[in-house]
Amino acid sequence: MSTIVETHDDHGHHGPAKGLTRWLFTTNHKDIGTLYLWFSFLMLFIGGAMAMVIRAELFEPGLQIIEPEFFNQMTTNHGLIMVFGVIMPAFVGLANWMIPMQIGAPDMALPRLNNLSFWLLPMAFGILISTLFMEAGGPNFGWTFYAPLSTTYAPETVTFFIFSVHIMGASSILGSINIITTILNMRAPGMTLMKMPLFVWSWLITAYLLIAVMPVLAGAVTMMLMDIHFGTSFFNAAGGGDPVLFQHIFWFFGHPEVYIMILPAFGIASHIIETFSRKPLFGYTSMVYALTSIAILSFVVWAHHMFTVGMPLAGELFFMYSTMLIAIPTGVKVFNWIATMFKGSISFETPMLFAIAFVALFTIGGFSGLMLAIVPADFQYHDTYFVVAHFHYVLVPGSLFGIIAGVYYWIPKWTGIMYDEILGKLHFWLSFISVNLTFFPMHFVGLAGMPRRYPDYALQFADFNAIISVGAFIFGLTQLLFLFIVIKSIRAGKKANSEVWEGAGELGLEWTLDSPPSYHTFTVQPQVK
């Protein structure tokens, strides 16, 4: 059980290696967490730049800046990078940093595998992004890459895309094996499952989801590869296959994937709201059950992405009901967060501001999701900007705000320096206003009839598109402020003590460690009561 615990003490005898090779060869969970987080931050700016190109083109009707084939590459890669290169790696980075400290473990269960899991990512994205510079252009078939647009009609670079997806998938799967093994086997004595911090719970469940669905994505892209190069007909009607089969397999992965992208944020929100309300989290047990039910239900809703594909009535009804059902455990979580705030003693530091905005704006995303679940109404929403509004609400003020909140919350622990509170609040307000300015009007243009993945549009959509683009530019620029804040809180500022936040010492093992913590912590496991 403790085969990988260091057998010598860690009091300053050897810290991290010196020089650049430290980062190449590290097996330390703190270093690897840092690598994942910086990688994700870099990808945020790259994927964000693509969004800026998209919004610049969509600022006015007409084709001003780019042609449709490049636009399709931008939308495709923006989606792929944000999903696989920003949100997922950021949560893995937070997991790496926090899970061992929160469960009183010295490191992850498989430290060398941990290093590999990280370094696979720059490889994968290097391949993906390089396709944009190849003659045939990068992938241009949407991040959902439906066949046959992505098979028979794809540019030659599609093979690189497939390879890149395989590598990303391998990274996620290996990371998840590590996380589950760590959580199940290395908790400090006395920490039963129902005493685990909620962030750890959220990651335990997320990791199981990843193990279940990333291999299915691998299967889907392998079938694509076989159709393209080896003469099979999985998705080609001529050979007895079916393009719609692709959609079923993809969304069987795709729906749990979106819960993979939100569950850790739920965990982070629970921690932050508890801390800044100075009151224990309301309903810990039902929060765990809610996470579990959301995860299980996520496997039986996939076809709600396919309501116009020609499904029989019984199928449409089943998926409508199952999708509506997911609203219940999700609602329960929102109620529990509010019940935590109720009769608390609340202060509004930056992490709390982001967490509150997360709850409110994720809920708005949830409402549009509920509307989308209603099949006949979805006939009018499907593939319009109403869908784009929905998923950006749950992913940007949802997942991304959750990540940012987690960073503000934990960075004083990581660096030992308090971030600048005034700049943090400025970052928050600019982000909050611009995120709504960008994504709220998308509901309207979608309802009014503007389809998605359109580089140009009819004149009645012009005004809202201009507002959306302005909001997007502000939001993008504001994240540069975040970069400044992060760098500043690594270099100089007020020192943080181990507790960092008032009363946090009671809330988790991480707040008993020094800020910053030693390179190797909990080499001797603590006893948990």
């Binding site: 269960a109 799967i173 094996i177 093994t181 193990i211 279940a212 669905v213 001529a238």
Partner: protein, 179 residues
């Protein structure tokens, strides 16, 4: 701990296999539900359903489409026909290879509405096999079918769609048409 890792690796491999299993599962599911108008191979009306359900008239429409502008002439002799359920029917389709190369075509059927597909029994169809037509060759090929009298009454018409694909490049051993 080793056991955890082993189980997780096995689960990963299992889920990868499951992804591929989804392919036959999908086919079986489509046959049962008629999803996407997928029709299976030759079949026949079971003895039991004859006599229990009244015969009624159903409008059957024939629709042809050449995928990706496949150059053959491909059309049905009649665009639609009113038939009685439970009776053997026949319809002819004209195929002509108007190019200067020998080509192989494959017709893929699709029945609409999807839930009618399971009641549409084809006893003979050119869509069961690929068809080789030499340059300039013209043939007329039949579809023989029976509509199951058990088909729900709210389905008043069936559209039988045939899409013709050019599979010359991807086929090695087709059957020969018109022989």
């Amino acid at each position: 701990m080793g056991k955890t890792v082993r189980n997780l690796i096995l689960s990963t491999i299992g889920m990868f296999a499951f992804g591929f299993l989804l392919v036959p599962i999908y086919d079986v599911f489509c046959e049962i539900t008629g999803l996407n108008g997928k029709v299976t191979g030759p079949s026949y009306v079971s003895e039991e359903s004859e006599g229990i359900f009244d015969k009624r008239e159903v409008l059957v429409q024939f629709i042809t489409h050449n995928n990706e502008s496949m150059p053959w002439t491909f059309k049905s002799q009649v665009t639609q026909v009113r038939v009685n359920t439970g009776e053997q029917q026949e319809a002819f389709f004209i195929f002509e290879n108007t190019t200067d190369k020998d080509m192989i075509g494959q017709v893929i059927p699709s029945v609409s509405p999807g839930r009618g597909a399971q009641y549409f029994h084809k006893t003979e169809c050119f869509c069961f096999e690929s068809q080789l037509l030499k340059s300039g060759q013209r043939v007329e090929l039949p579809v023989r079918f029976i509509i199951d009298p058990a088909m729900p009454k709210d389905i008043g018409s069936l559209s039988l769609g045939y899409t013709l694909f050019d599979i010359t490049k991807s086929t090695e051993k087709p059957s020969l048409a018109g022989l």
